[in-house]
């Protein structure tokens, strides 16, 4: 066990995603509680009190975002669930969408009530087919049962929901770019100010929250903020859905109570590194979070005394972040130069091309790492990669360029010797290997 559960607190069966099953587990009671017994401001206050942080990557306090919205200011407000899960290594929202779509829907209704939202959206990435079918079916069930539409539960509250499918653009996971996509444009991120909670979708106040963030709401309203605060750590209450992949024995999605021991999680729950290899590195929260060496992360063996806990502050102090919860485990024998190439190819492919540092920088970084691997690297190329990363630090419209820069710098900082070796010997120290296969 990885601590207490908020979201994965039921057994997954072929029908556990249906409305019937959800109602049997007490579903939609939190909605009734909010609509019948709480004022919108009280719901928001409860979320503020819960200390819930965003689960999409930035860990911004969800309640603080909400407090910017005045539900009674007479203009339309919008709520968007960000289900554009595209951060490589991340597949945890998919679990909610496939297995517990009504948790998301109920939570969105509670949020819509608190924020004065008449029309809400779920922006789901275009490649997700089963998750989209599950969510769409759940929405039809919910409409039929009177949870969406006019006069919900006879309370006079009305709300519609629309599932918007993306079409293959990582950058649309960025909130402003996602809104541009809904508005029918290219997914270009927007400069702040104004914040999206001031001018968002159709220039109206808009809250964009990650699927997992929103899905916590039903539990928080149902059990109360105080109960939520009992879970996790004082600064990071609750749980995180962590999707583990890479060279790990038991990959998958786990719900982990914040503050849980990282070593125990990786070695006991996930079965440790595959093929009996040593742990070389971990990318804790999607490739945009900084890679840590197994030693930095203090998760080399399950018996490490001074083991690190899974918690936002602890990871920030270690020089990385829990990010999107997409944990990638990397075994000894993996070529980090090749791994960085895969990452930079991705950023190059996904840069929207709007602002200069990212548009030009991503392609440049990609070409340089390609050249290094092709045996044509120069010693100064490493410095150049630092320089390009720095030119993206805090200078871009959205976080894509920054994140790519941070990820690159972490790879160079922590595996510098491998890059230098590759430049000097004109080939990868590990022959470009990325796999961890049983020796035959």
């Amino acid at each position: 066990m990885t601590g207490r559960k908020v979201l994965m607190d039921f057994e997954v069966t072929p029908t556990s995603h249906t409305l019937e099953a959800y109602l049997a587990r007490g579903g939609y009671q939190a909605l009734a509680k909010a609509l019948r017994g709480m004022k919108p401001g009280e719901v928001t206050q409860e979320i503020v009190d819960s200390g819930l942080q965003g689960r999409g990557g930035a860990a911004f306090p969800a309640g603080r975002k909400w407090q910017v919205i005045d539900p009674h200011d007479g203009q339309p407000h919008y709520l968007v669930a960000n289900a554009d899960e595209g951060e490589p290594g991340t597949f945890k929202d998919r679990w909610v969408l496939e297995h517990s779509p009504h948790t998301l829907l109920e939570s969105m209704l509670i949020a819509s009530y608190a924020l004065g939202v008449r029309h809400s959206f779920i922006y789901i990435r275009g490649e997700f087919d089963l998750p989209w079918r599950r969510v769409s079916a759940a929405i039809e069930e919910a409409y039929a049962a009177g949870y969406f539409g006019e006069n919900i539960l006879g309370t006079g509250f009305s709300c519609d929901i629309f599932v918007f499918r993306g079409a293959g653009a990582y950058v649309c996971g960025e909130a402003s770019s996602l809104l541009a996509s809904i508005e029918g444009s290219r997914g270009y991120p927007r400069n702040r100010p104004p914040r999206l909670t001031v001018k968002g979708l159709f220039q109206r106040p808009t809250v964009v929250n990650n699927v997992e963030t929103l899905s916590n709401l039903a539990w928080i309203i149902g059990h109360g903020a105080a109960a939520f605060r009992q879970i996790g750590t004082p600064k990071s209450p609750g749980t995180r859905l962590i999707s583990v992949s890479g060279h790990i024995a038991r990959p998958g999605v786990y719900e982990v109570e914040l503050g849980y021991s990282w070593a125990k999680f990786l070695h006991d729950e996930c079965g440790g590194v595959s093929c009996d290899r040593e742990l070389k590195a971990v990318i804790p929260g999607g490739i945009s979070s900084q890679v840590l060496t197994g030693r930095d992360a203090k998760v080399l063996t399950p018996h490490d005394v001074e083991t690190m806990i899974l918690d936002h502050d602890a990871l920030w102090q270690a020089g990385s972040s829990l990010g999107s919860g997409g944990m990638i485990v990397i075994a000894e024998g993996t070529c980090m130069v090749s791994l960085l190439r895969v990452m930079l190819r991705f950023y190059h492919h996904e840069s929207c091309g709007q602002c200069t540092p990212c548009r030009e920088g991503m392609g440049w970084l990609h070409r340089i790492v390609d050249r290094i691997l092709a045996g044509k690297g120069r010693p100064e190329d490493i410095d150049l990669m630092y320089r390009i990363s720095k030119a993206n630090d805090g200078t871009t419209i959205c976080g894509l360029g920054d994140a790519a820069g941070y990820a690159t710098v972490a790879m160079l900082d922590r595996f510098r010797d491998e890059f230098d070796w590759c430049v000097e010997h004109k080939r990868s120290k590990y022959d470009g290997n990325l796999e961890c296969r049983p020796s035959t």
Binding site: H348, E350, G353, Q354, W364, A391, I397
Partner: protein, 474 residues
């Protein structure tokens, strides 16, 4: 009025201004590619980064002013940042300034020398793109030179409304492309994107490879294309360069026309007709005075005309709506009492020309109709029975309408049916050869100046009117 501090200097700013606007109003230039005072703020070029005390760096173009804020436009971090951005801006730019029309007035070139100066640190191949992307028969786009500031795209969305351009694809494969429905080809304001382009990506095909800009100079003028009277710069060879030039024909040609920003009339824009003034002014000129169809000295022709006016019993004048305020007033003073005067539309809309729109283009295709009508009335030209002389000043008179037996005097700059038919022809200068003013349809008076010498054999119309009235006749 919040006070902010720019590089230590207190600056009064308006509540709703950005740091970029406040700085410019105070005469502090913050480098920028994508920002333009008349367009929306995309904040994509990232060169206008400034440092705010206690807040770090951010782009000035999207930064609201806040009372007491301390902005630094040249701190170490800002300077380093600009250099880094310029390396990136130039990464896939071909730096082919040697064959680029924009060289000499290119923002990227200027900024490189002013803020960077370092050669490229890249050894990797540049990303290729379309070199000769024919957006229309007027404009060609070099996608390799493009830095994707999106000014042109925003212009077609926010100003001209044609939605003719867009940015397609992503990352460093992003390309400005025309809408496939040809909306850009039909945009009557399309040439403004050439001026808006901070680099040499969007080029006027009229001007392509015609001149290096440092051999040119502008003369302020007024577009005569319609009664809006947009103020323009007429670009022509530098005086100095004319002395050295081998191709002397180019000395008196219009190299290009650009808007002369004027908030009272046209803002920073003009329409494409204004760009094509060479087509109007470089038509075959009347340079030889004629009497009875035969070449004559100018004095002889003036004398012949004066006699016709003096002896006519019912003379009619068709006054040019292309005359300057000064000329029109001189005409009224010298000849207004002697002839029955009507204002003539020298030019009518050409086939295919935009008649009128909500932006600049007006239906009246003459620059000074307003002043002419103030002086000579609104009545349409007509010939009372017994009209025995018509004095036609300017173009647009069909000589078939000449009353039977009437004589025709023409004061004109260009050949047409009326000059062919004239009993007396007096060649006159164009607005490019004299100073003057036009009054636009809203009553705004704008000045134009001479940029070419008057050709031999041509007189200024204003000087002729007194002579024709016989006031200083010997």
């Amino acid at each position: 009025m919040p006070t902010i501090y720019i590089d230590g200097r207190p600056v009064e700013a308006a509540e709703d201004q950005t740091v970029m606007q406040a700085a410019r109003a105070a005469g502090v230039e913050i480098p920028h590619f994508c920002w333009h005072p008349a367009l929306s703020v995309p904040g994509n070029c990232r060169i206008c980064m400034v440092e705010v005390e206690g807040k770090g760096t951010d782009i000035a173009c999207n930064m609201p002013v806040k009372a007491g804020m301390k902005v630094f436009t040249n701190s170490d971090e800002v300077v380093a940042h600009r250099k880094a951005i310029l390396q990136l801006t130039l990464l896939n730019h071909p730096v082919d300034c040697g064959i680029c029309d924009k060289a000499g007035e290119c923002t990227l070139q200027d900024y490189h020398y002013r803020y960077n100066g370092e050669p490229s640190v890249s050894v990797d191949a540049k990303v290729p793109a379309t070199k000769f992307n024919e957006l229309s028969d007027r404009i060609v786009l070099d996608n390799e030179r493009c830095i994707l500031c999106s000014r042109c795209v925003r212009f077609t969305r926010e100003v001209s409304g044609s939605n003719g351009l867009g940015i397609e694809h992503r990352a460093d494969h992003s390309r400005v492309q025309p809408s496939s429905d040809g909306a850009f080809r039909g945009d009557p304001y399309s040439d403004n994107v050439v001026d808006l382009c901070p680099v040499g990506a969007l080029l006027s095909r009229r001007f392509l490879y015609r001149s290096r800009v440092w051999y040119l100079e502008p003369t302020p003028s007024v577009c005569p294309g319609c009664e809006r009277g947009c103020t323009i710069n007429v670009w022509h060879r530098l005086e100095d360069w004319k002395l050295k030039s081998v191709a002397t024909k180019e000395n008196s040609r219009i190299a290009r026309v650009t808007p002369l920003e004027n908030p009272a009339v046209n803002g920073p824009w003009i329409c494409n007709k204004g760009r094509d003034l060479a087509d109007l002014f470089e038509r075959p000129r009347t340079t030889q005075a004629k009497v009875g169809g035969r070449p004559a000295e100018i004095d002889e022709a003036v004398a012949a005309a004066r006699r016709l006016i003096a002896t006519a019993t019912r003379p009619v004048a068709l006054v040019s709506s292309w005359g300057s305020n000064e000329e029109l007033e001189a005409f009224a003073r010298h000849l207004g009492g002697r002839l029955a005067c009507f204002v003539k539309a020298d030019h009518r809309p050409r086939e295919g020309e935009v008649l009128e729109d909500g932006l600049l283009i007006k239906a009246g295709k003459n620059p000074n109709s307003r002043r002419a009508r103030e002086l000579f009335g609104d009545a349409a030209p007509s010939f009372a029975p017994g009209t025995d002389l018509v004095l036609c000043w300017g173009e647009g008179f069909d000589p078939a309408l000449l009353p039977a037996g009437a004589k025709l005097i023409v004061i004109g700059s260009f050949f047409d049916a009326a000059t062919d038919r004239a009993d007396v022809l007096l060649p006159a200068s164009t607005q490019l050869e004299r100073d003057g003013h036009y009054t636009n349809f809203e009553g705004v008076v704008s000045a134009f100046a001479a940029c070419f010498p008057r050709p031999a054999g041509v007189a200024d119309a204003e000087a002729l009117f007194g002579l024709l009235a016989g006031e200083d006749a010997t």
